[in-house]
Every structure is written in structure tokens, then in C-alpha cells.
């Protein structure tokens, strides 16, 4: 164990303003309140781009909002849609689409797991947008931070691909893994690992001699 300081986990309300997004630093751990739109579908993002290009309305307004790469499933209880589970999906697979979406919708936060590529990082810096990384496979605790589903759009798609707007309360903690200043924890770790690789291979060679 090390003796690094234990920073308090602060609450943020979604959607962030671009200024709020810019005030966050890489590695900040935060709890999220407010509203977010989620979807785990590639086809959903393709439709968003089509709508942006044709000027067609989206099922609900996403300008300046939070958009998470997340799948979800709900049940109806007393006229409310309560979550059975939510969980992030790997964001990198949307790398070709997200720069257009971040710019087109002026998103101020994106969430998911595994990070996003350099072109997304660039778009985020331009707009004032951060990436919240959350643990995959910790669904029960993440779901505890979801109050209810407010609405869905594109209901012709399968459940996890629809656009779904949720109310959050103390969702997370999630980590700011790409900030709005061009820094990405994922790129940093990838670079560091690549730098360490020759040394690691030497150590493996030494271990083989034992």
C-alpha cells in the first residue's frame, strides 16, 4: 500500500457545461447525478450521424448532453421504468463514428469502458468534453446509481441499441480517463507499456536462464 492522499469523490451533475468539463483533470474520480442518454448500438450511432447530416430530428434532444456507451434493461413498476441492469460497452469500436457525433451534438461527456482513439480525443478537446471510464462487469453497483429510465427512442431496435434517457443519482464512481485538454489515460498507459516492453522482454530472457 502506498501513502498517496485519498481524494474525496465529488458529485457532478449531468449534463456538464463545456466549462465544467474543462475543469476536470485526468484521473478524477466522480459520482454522477443528472441525466444521461445511453446506447450500446453501432447502428444507433450510424443513425445519429444520418440524422445530423440530413438535419432530421433525433427522438429527443441530445445537444450538449451526456452520451454513454452502455447497454441496459428495464422493468415496469407502477408506471415507472426501473433498471434491472446497466453496463458499459467497449468504446473504441465506435472510434470511427464518435468524432462526428461529439462535434455534431456538442457532447460534454461520453462514458464507457476502454477509452476512445486519438481523433475522439481531439474532438473532445475542441468541444469541451470528457470521457468517463467505468468498470465493466460491476453491473449491480453501477445499476444502484440509476434511478429510472425517462424515455426511449428508436424502439424498432433491440433494447440495448435504443436510445435510452436515464436519471442518475450517485452513479459510479467513474474516472475521468480522457480530459478536455487532449490527455488520455489510455494513450498514456499504452505508450508507457510500449516503452516498458523491451525491458520486460529482457527480464523474461533473464528469467528463462534461471
Amino acid at each position: 500500500m502506498s501513502d498517496e492522499p485519498q481524494p474525496d469523490i465529488v458529485h457532478l451533475n449531468l449534463p456538464l457545461s463545456p466549462e465544467e468539463a474543462r475543469s476536470l483533470s485526468l484521473g478524477d474520480m466522480v459520482l454522477l447525478d443528472g441525466e444521461v442518454t445511453v446506447s450500446a448500438g453501432m447502428i444507433t450511432q450510424e443513425r445519429i450521424i444520418e440524422a445530423l447530416e440530413s438535419g432530421e430530428d433525433l427522438p429527443f434532444d441530445l445537444q450538449g448532453q451526456a452520451f454513454f456507451h452502455m447497454g441496459s434493461n428495464c422493468r415496469e413498476e407502477n408506471g415507472k421504468w426501473l433498471p434491472n441492469y446497466v453496463n458499459p460497452t467497449t468504446s473504441t469500436r465506435f472510434d470511427a463514428l464518435m468524432p462526428t457525433i461529439i462535434r455534431g451534438l456538442g457532447l460534454t461527456s461520453v462514458g464507457g469502458k476502454g477509452g476512445m482513439g486519438p481523433q475522439c480525443v481531439e474532438a473532445m478537446q475542441e468541444i469541451g468534453c470528457v470521457y468517463f471510464s467505468m468498470p465493466g462487469g460491476a453491473s449491480p453497483l453501477l445499476t444502484n446509481g440509476v434511478v429510472e429510465r425517462l424515455e426511449t427512442g428508436w424502439d424498432d431496435l433491440i433494447e440495448q441499441f435504443r436510445l435510452a434517457r436515464y436519471q442518475l443519482k450517485s452513479f459510479g464512481p467513474v474516472t475521468v480517463a480522457i480530459d478536455a485538454h487532449g490527455n488520455s489515460m489510455f494513450q498514456k498507459l499504452q505508450q508507457e507499456a510500449a516503452d516498458k516492453l523491451p525491458g520486460i522482454l529482457q527480464e523474461l530472457a533473464a528469467a528463462r536462464q534461471k
Partner: protein, 289 residues
């Protein structure tokens, strides 16, 4: 009394549900050990969060992850048992039962590889692998559903007369390519030798080995040990928080073959979905994990 279609149908259904709602005990133990050793706060917090989520899944009857994956089973059939009824059909119907009855429901993940259409059924679903156990009068079934995040980083390469260092360098390339996108800390399996298909199967089966178990061959034991140290020096850490625990285990297996050597590497994410049960010849079902 033979092992019947009905028994296997129910067993395959139950195994899948258990695998979704319980992180195996060896894995929880390994996460707890990793948490003690982690030097980075964010990584420790992530490991704590994972353990708490896993406990909640088990005690509150919830899914550990929303990606329920596609059904995959490993079946070992004792040569002394008797079977009655269609066994493949039992798995197909068992999965259909699961889809109809599991609470909360699972989403559609079975994907047509060419049209990307999603469904609850599909060609060759569940993915079944059969093996025999000589002399045994029981059947063992392991269920390990495969989801996107941990499935997509598997890789394979065919070498000719490779040196061990080439194999290990390739292994590290696979580790770096995956980075932290497969929900680490992961369990890594590597299969060396045999044929193309056999190496892949060995790698997959190696991920199913219990954490802490040892390979029977000392040469492989040493390799597993040094590769685990090497992986954890990369610094990706739990969910990419940059800590010391990128893998909980590296499991290697090998088979003799010819002078071309396929090497397959695959991963299982930290929830390490894996459940096993045994059905004895009198139809008694025992959950092994």
C-alpha cells in the same frame, strides 16, 4: 439409470444462470489478494468496487455484467455412463428455457456473423465442445459464456521452429494489443502446438483452469510464472487504472505436433464466468462451482 435429455436440458439452463450471477470463488480470492498488493489508490478502489459488485450479484440474484454473452459449454463424458435422448438438443432447449425464464431477462447477444442481426438463437448455438473421460461413470459440464469485451482480443499465429523467446514476445504483443479493453484483471490462456484448432482449444481451456492451480510440467509452470510477472509490469492495471494487476493468472498448455507451431492466446475478463457441474450415472447433479 441413464443420464437423460431432461437432466441435461435443466443442467445447461441452470449452469448459464449461475455463471451470470456468480464470480467464481478462486477469482474473488485472487481479486482480494491483488487489492492487498496494489500500490495505486484508483486501482485498489476499482478492485474493491469489483468485489463488492460481485458479492451483490451473488447475494441479490443479479447479473454481474449486462453482456450475457453467447452460450458456450465444455462437456466431458465418462466412457462408463449411459445416455438417453438427444444431447445436443438438450443444450439448445436448455438455452431456450433460460431465455424464457431467467430474471432479470437477458438481452439478445447471439449475432449472425455476416448480417450482424441479433437473436436468441443461431447456427451452432450453444457452442459445444465434447471430450471423454476414460473410465468415468459421470459427465461434467462447464459453462463459460463468451461476451464481446473479453472475446475479441484473442489471437493466433503459426510459427515454424520457434524459439521460446519468440513465443513469449508474441504473447506480450497480444497483451499490449488488448491493453485494458478486456476488463482487466484478466485470466490469460495460451495454447502452444498441435494444430490450428487444437491450439485455440487449449488456450480457451487454459483460461478455465482454477487460479492457483499448477500445470503438471515444471517447464510450463516456470513459463506461467514469468509471464504473469511480465504482464503485470505493463501497468495497465484494473480497468485501465494503471496499477499492478493486469492479469490474475496466466495459464499455458501445449501439445506435440509437427515443426509448425500454432500459438493461441485468449482472455477471460475479471468476472471470469465459469461454472461446472457433475452428473452421475444415477442422474444426481452436483454443482462443483
Amino acid at each position: 439409470m441413464p443420464i437423460t435429455y431432461d437432466i441435461i436440458r435443466k443442467a445447461s439452463r441452470d449452469l448459464y444462470e449461475w455463471s451470470l450471477k456468480k464470480v467464481p470463488d478462486d477469482t474473488l480470492e485472487a481479486l482480494a489478494q491483488a487489492e492487498k498488493k496494489e500500490t495505486k489508490l484508483a486501482s485498489r478502489r476499482t478492485l474493491q468496487f469489483m468485489q463488492a459488485a460481485a458479492r451483490a450479484a451473488e447475494t441479490e440474484d443479479r447479473h454481474a455484467c449486462s453482456d450475457a454473452g453467447f452460450p458456450a459449454y465444455f462437456v466431458k463424458i465418462g466412457t462408463k455412463l449411459t445416455l438417453d435422448g438427444d444431447i445436443r438438443r438438450a443444450f439448445v432447449d436448455g438455452f431456450e428455457d433460460l431465455v424464457k425464464t431467467i430474471e432479470p431477462p437477458i438481452l439478445k447477444f447471439i449475432t449472425h456473423p455476416l448480417t450482424m442481426e441479433r437473436s436468441y438463437t443461431g447456427r451452432d448455438m450453444p457452442a459445444l465442445s465434447f471430450d471423454v473421460i476414460d473410465g468415468a461413470d459421470y459427465m461434467e459440464i462447464t459453462c463459460s459464456p463468451k461476451a464481446l469485451g473479453s472475446g475479441r482480443w484473442a489471437d493466433m499465429k503459426i510459427f515454424v521452429y520457434p524459439k521460446i523467446e519468440e513465443i513469449e514476445a508474441y504473447f506480450m504483443d497480444c497483451v499490449l494489443a488488448a491493453g485494458s479493453q478486456h476488463c482487466p484483471p484478466v485470466i490469460i490462456g495460451m495454447g502452444i502446438g498441435g494444430s490450428f484448432d487444437h491450439a485455440a482449444k487449449m488456450a480457451k481451456k487454459a483460461t478455465l483452469r482454477k487460479i492457483g492451480s499448477k500445470h503438471s510440467d515444471p517447464m510450463i509452470q516456470d513459463m506461467e510464472e514469468r509471464l504473469l510477472i511480465a504482464v503485470n509490469k505493463t501497468g495497465f492495471g484494473p480497468m485501465g487504472t494503471g496499477g499492478d494487476t493486469t492479469a490474475l493468472a496466466v495459464h499455458v498448455d501445449y501439445a506435440h505436433g509437427h515443426s509448425f507451431v500454432p500459438v493461441a492466446v485468449c482472455f477471460n475478463c475479471w468476472i471470469n464466468r465459469r461454472t461446472t457441474l457433475r452428473i452421475s450415472n444415477d442422474g444426481e447433479v452436483t454443482r462443483l462451482e
